[in-house]
């Protein structure tokens, strides 16, 4: 079953076409990775799908419904979540409060007039926050300010925030960028476990080929804003256009 269908997605910044007539479908439960050299338009694509940027043309269907150009909070409320490349967290809130913000978005919708409701004793929210933190191995650090966490933990908190709403589809934008090999290993294991336990379709935007080939069923390759290949890891590895795009990238 197709969970996300993108047709003709295009984004132009002035004369530059960052994403060029991109079509892509994502099946429920599959492990798709989107790869490509720097500047290929991977992050722009995610930004277009999740509502951070407005597409110049094209259509995005999520669960068969049109979400093109919808606001980010609407898209999340429908069950599509994302993480960011940099640890986009709330640095001066505690780890627990970080998760609580995410849990509030999940529990009471995009807006609620509950400004006189006690947060203490709002059990559904506390429970949801606790579960994510436990899943991500951050529960012990819940009382620390988020900014005091080591880099790898910050990135995990970032992922935790994206997961708290129990999305159907989750985009992870380079979740292991800048991590040490150990942290990378932990994170990849976590991603695989979360996928099993939470029944969430995860799309990985990655640079690290080793990870991509290890955990993907299918890989889409972008270059200069266009999709140049789409297939199983074996197919992609043998694809001459992909090799050319990547080798070209390295030579530059």
């Amino acid at each position: 079953m197709t969970i996300l269908a993108i047709t003709g997605l295009t984004k132009r910044f002035g004369n530059l076409t960052a994403v060029d007539d991109l079509s892509l479908h994502i099946e429920r439960g599959e492990s798709l990775s989107i790869i490509g050299p720097n500047g290929a338009g991977k992050s722009t694509t995610v930004n277009l799908i999740t509502g951070l940027l407005q597409p110049s043309a094209g259509e995005v269907l999520f669960h068969g419904e049109d979400i093109t150009g919808a606001q980010p909070h609407e898209i999340l409320q429908r069950g599509l979540s994302r993480s960011f490349q940099t640890a986009s967290i709330f640095p001066e809130l505690t780890v627990e409060q970080n998760a609580i913000v995410a849990a509030l978005g999940a529990e009471h919708g995009s807006f609620s007039l509950n400004f006189l409701r006690r947060l203490v004793g709002y059990d559904a929210v506390a429970e949801r926050a606790r579960r994510t933190l436990e899943d991500m191995g951050l529960y012990e650090q819940r009382e620390l300010e988020a900014q005091s966490l080591p880099y790898g933990d910050k990135r995990r908190l970032e992922m935790a925030l994206a997961l708290t709403s129990d999305p159907d589809l989750l985009f992870l934008d380079e979740p292991t960028a800048g991590m040490s090999p150990d942290e990378t290993e932990t994170t990849v294991t976590l991603i695989e476990r979360v996928k099993q336990e939470r029944d969430v379709t995860i799309v990985l935007i990655e640079h690290d080929m080793e990870i991509v080939f290890r955990i993907s069923d299918r890989i889409a390759v972008l270059s200069q804003g266009a999709k140049i290949a789409d297939g199983t890891p074996a197919e992609i590895q043998g694809d001459p256009t992909v090799q050319k795009a990547y080798l070209g990238g390295i030579e530059l």
């Binding site: 951070l52 909070h73 999340l76 409060q97 913000v101 807006f111 925030l161």
Partner: protein, 360 residues
């Protein structure tokens, strides 16, 4: 050190730990801030009106509560949500005029006047909020400033016939509370020493209510969402929360506090000055809030107190009181970026450390 001395140190440390733990538990109780505020309104006038030099007077105490309500609400927007409005005079002034006009046209019941002022401020804030919150940061500050000044000129010119223009609105009539209790009716005996008159009880009650309401808001989902918006607005949006609506909510809530305070001010002064809509009023509330400290509900109260003390008492003795205020502001903000309340917090932390270290 002898064994005996060690034992006694250990014991005193145990007691101190216990004391600190109990104090922490007490402070976390929801009712604590309200009870502290009640204690404050009973004790504060006794101290304030009997200071050795430069002592205050009852009317100023009431004025401090009124401005503190305004500042507490303003801080929900500035300190918690991270939005600097430079146009809150619009809500203060509109609320004050609405209460004044209502007292003449319909009813001079003090509570109804306050209600009318609050509703006016809230409705206006919904309108101005929708217009101003389209942009963030400095644009928001300038838009609110512009709308505030617009209100000022409208009250001065086109609506001059109703507002009294440059002379202000003078016809305010305040009826007795519930139709029977004159605002100036003094209490007898101990009650008189502690609570003075009906007016004082009204102003002090609203102050306590404002503290309790602000604490409740800060401890509701809104409190955490506001702080999250201040830190990383985009992330909040991507967690499924409608950031714009929460900002509007913070704006409207702060205006509600401003409206209540403005209504009380009209009841207190029985006059509305055109200056209540002027940008300097917007600036005053920013200064009070920042001076007191933006990181808690209580900071702005201290800020209002210090500001009004310098403005009303020190100014009587020293002609260049504005300079004193400026120096105070710069010193506090420079040495204690978290304001006067930051000084209190620092002292509290130091005392706690002393207690926990025991006598060793």
């Amino acid at each position: 050190m002898s064994g005996e001395a060690e034992a006694s140190t250990g014991q005193s440390r145990g007691e101190a730990d216990d004391l600190v733990a109990r104090w922490d538990a007490l402070r976390r109780r929801e009712a604590f801030p309200a009870i502290a505020a009640i204690a404050f309104v009973i004790v504060f006038p006794l101290i304030f009106t009997n200071l050795p030099a430069y002592n205050g007077y009852m009317s100023l105490v009431e004025l401090i509560y009124i401005w503190a309500i305004f500042a507490i609400g303003f801080n929900l927007l500035l300190g918690y949500t991270g939005l600097l409005s430079f146009g809150h005079a619009a809500f203060w002034g509109a609320g004050a005029y609405a209460a004044g006009l209502f007292s003449v046209a319909v009813s001079g019941d003090p509570l109804v006047m306050v209600l009318v002022a609050a509703v006016t401020a809230v409705v206006l804030a919904m309108f101005l909020g929708v217009l101003s919150l389209r942009r963030g940061g400095i644009y928001f500050a300038i838009l609110t400033l512009a709308f505030g000044q617009m209100m000022y000129y409208i009250a001065l010119g086109p609506l001059g016939a109703i507002t009294g223009g440059e002379d202000g609105f003078t016809g305010v009539t305040v009826d007795p509370l519930f139709g029977v209790l004159e605002m100036g009716a003094e209490f007898a005996g101990v009650l008189g020493v502690l609570l003075h008159d009906v007016g004082y009880v009204v102003f002090a009650s609203f102050f306590v209510l404002a503290v309790a309401a602000a604490v409740r808001i800060v401890r509701s989902p809104y409190g955490t969402i506001f702080q999250a918006i201040a830190e990383n607005e985009q992330r909040v949006e991507f967690l499924g929360l409608h950031v714009w609506r929460y900002k509007l909510a913070a704006f409207v809530l702060s205006a509600a506090f401003a409206g209540v305070a403005a209504g009380l001010h009209t009841v207190h002064a029985r006059y509305v000055a055109i200056a209540s809509l002027y940008w300097i009023t917007s600036g005053d509330i920013v200064i009070m809030t920042v001076l007191g400290g933006t990181s808690s509900v209580f900071g702005p109260i201290l800020g209002a107190l210090a500001f009004l003390y310098v403005e009303n008492i020190v100014s009587g003795e020293i002609a260049f009181w504005l300079l004193i205020l400026g120096v105070l502001f710069v010193t506090v903000v420079w040495l204690f970026p978290s304001g006067l309340w930051g000084v209190v917090s620092a002292v509290r932390t130091a005392v706690r450390r002393r207690l926990l270290e025991g006598r060793s």
